[in-house]
Amino acid sequence: MGTSVTTPTPLKEGSTFEPKITAFVCNWCTYAGADLTGTSRIRYQPNVRVIRFPCTGRIDFMLILKAFAHGSDGVIVSGCHPNDCHYTTGNYLARRRWIVFRDVLEFTGIDLRRLTFAWVSAAEGAKWAELVDEVTDRVRALGPYREYQALASAGIE
């Protein structure tokens, strides 16, 4: 058997499973919104790692799969609400991509409970905190996404 190229999910004392959540966010709305969460000192769980993009339109659907393959147990994709896109239409194109992508994932049998899409504006600091907590709790309940991570080693002699 080959080694899966994934990193171990961080374990807290008591070694209860702590999920690793990757968030793909746009710079102008959700990243700023998450900044606001900080300036408003709203607490949320530390499991999320944010990756900043100029726009949700920039987010290649493959990156979401890469996140899973490389050890993320859950993924958040978030950007500006429709009509608020800094680039006017990037989020509309992203939305189309996501609509079909989710369909395709579900058709191939991938567990969509691990993939969450949201619109979080620069003003929605509280919403960001709620989103992260909700996703973290849900994914913690689902357990590690070994199923996908293990694919990298399945079929290697």
Partner: protein
């Protein structure tokens, strides 16, 4: 070669059980969605025997389509490499056609050309090949044109001849074969010369020698682009071929660790010879097709003293656009 034993239809199941009990896995033709492929089989009932050939190749037993050759970890700023243990799973390939079994000779020769291929050899040592002589053939077959035949012994450890009454005559061809018999000695009765089903008749429409002689002068001939016009440039032919041995080395890694894999590759792909500069010494499909034929019928005989083709016709059967190898070779052989 006279058979030492015969085995009854009814005893196959017990033989399979004995093999499994010995901790070996059994691979053979089995029905899979939409076709007959080579795969793991747990009981004689699963063994498919009516087809001329399974679509996929048995070479995967010793030359897997993806094989880990090492893995490494980032240890702070240093790299720690772990060599994987040599592959150890003993395998019995059951029910191959003699031509495909014969393919292992060519495959072994090329993989051991220069440096011995310890991965392949380790697997081969643990692999026992049981082939069944052909009583049927189809228009893709041309084993007799390349020095083989429906009951050719090369590459097999045991060769089975179907009997009219059911069951098989068993020809032992190697110690590995003998060892297999020893797993269930009471299931192998001494051969009694029972009537065999007649072997398939495969007319040789050309002789490999003719092609080997033709090729040097045909190198720049338009025949290659002619024949390959409909070729789509996929790798189906190479991936089902018992003797195609080309592979690619791939590292799969992140910032912390990685694995190095050996994966099947094919000379039919444009990417196969594409240089980093963007230059491609085999730019056209015609050149790539020529390489395939030249390699099997000229370079291998010349450098390794062995033909790169066993005439199984698997490539023709797998090709989505019916690139018929026999037809094309015949054309080349008869070309003047």
């Amino acid at each position: 070669m006279s058979p030492e034993y015969q085995i009854g239809e009814g005893s196959l199941e017990a033989l399979f059980a004995a093999i499994t009990a010995d901790g070996r896995r059994i691979w053979g033709p089995r029905a899979a969605a939409g076709c007959i492929e080579i795969g793991e089989i747990r009981s004689a009932g699963e063994l498919a025997r009516d087809q001329v050939h399974p679509i996929s190749s048995a070479k995967a037993a010793a030359f897997p389509r993806v094989e880990k050759i090492l893995s490494y970890r980032m240890d702070g700023k240093d790299v720690a490499i772990d060599d994987p243990p040599l592959p150890a799973r003993p395998t019995v390939l059951f029910g191959l056609r003699p031509c495909e079994a014969r393919g292992f000779c060519a495959l072994g020769t090329i993989l051991n050309w220069g440096t011995p291929d310890r991965f392949f050899n380790a697997r081969m040592e643990r692999t026992t090949v049981v082939s069944i002589a052909c009583t049927r053939s189809d228009e893709a077959c041309f084993c007799t044109a390349v020095g083989g035949g429906p009951d050719h012994p090369a590459g097999s450890d045991l060769l089975l001849h179907p009997l009219a009454q059911g069951g098989y005559d068993v020809v032992v061809l190697s110690d590995k074969g003998r060892a297999l018999v020893a797993l269930a000695p009471d299931r192998f009765e001494p051969a009694r010369g029972a009537a065999r089903i007649a072997l398939a008749k495969i007319e040789a429409e050309f002789q490999a020698q003719e092609i080997t002689e033709q090729l040097p002068r045909l190198f720049d001939h338009p025949i290659w682009s002619e024949q390959s016009l409909r070729c789509l440039g996929c790798g189906a032919c190479a991936y089902v071929c018992p003797t195609c041995a080309c592979f690619d080395i791939q590292d799969e890694a992140d910032a912390r660790r990685g694995v190095r894999l050996r994966c099947w590759d094919s000379c039919a792909f444009r990417l196969f010879t594409l240089h980093a500069s963007g230059h491609n010494p085999r730019e056209t499909q015609g050149q790539r097709w020529r390489q395939r034929v030249q390699h099997k019928f000229s370079y291998m005989p010349e450098r390794l003293g062995v033909l790169g083709c066993v005439g199984c016709g698997k490539c023709s059967r797998a090709c989505p656009v019916d690139m018929d190898f026999k037809e094309h070779l015949t054309e080349i052989a008869k070309f003047s």
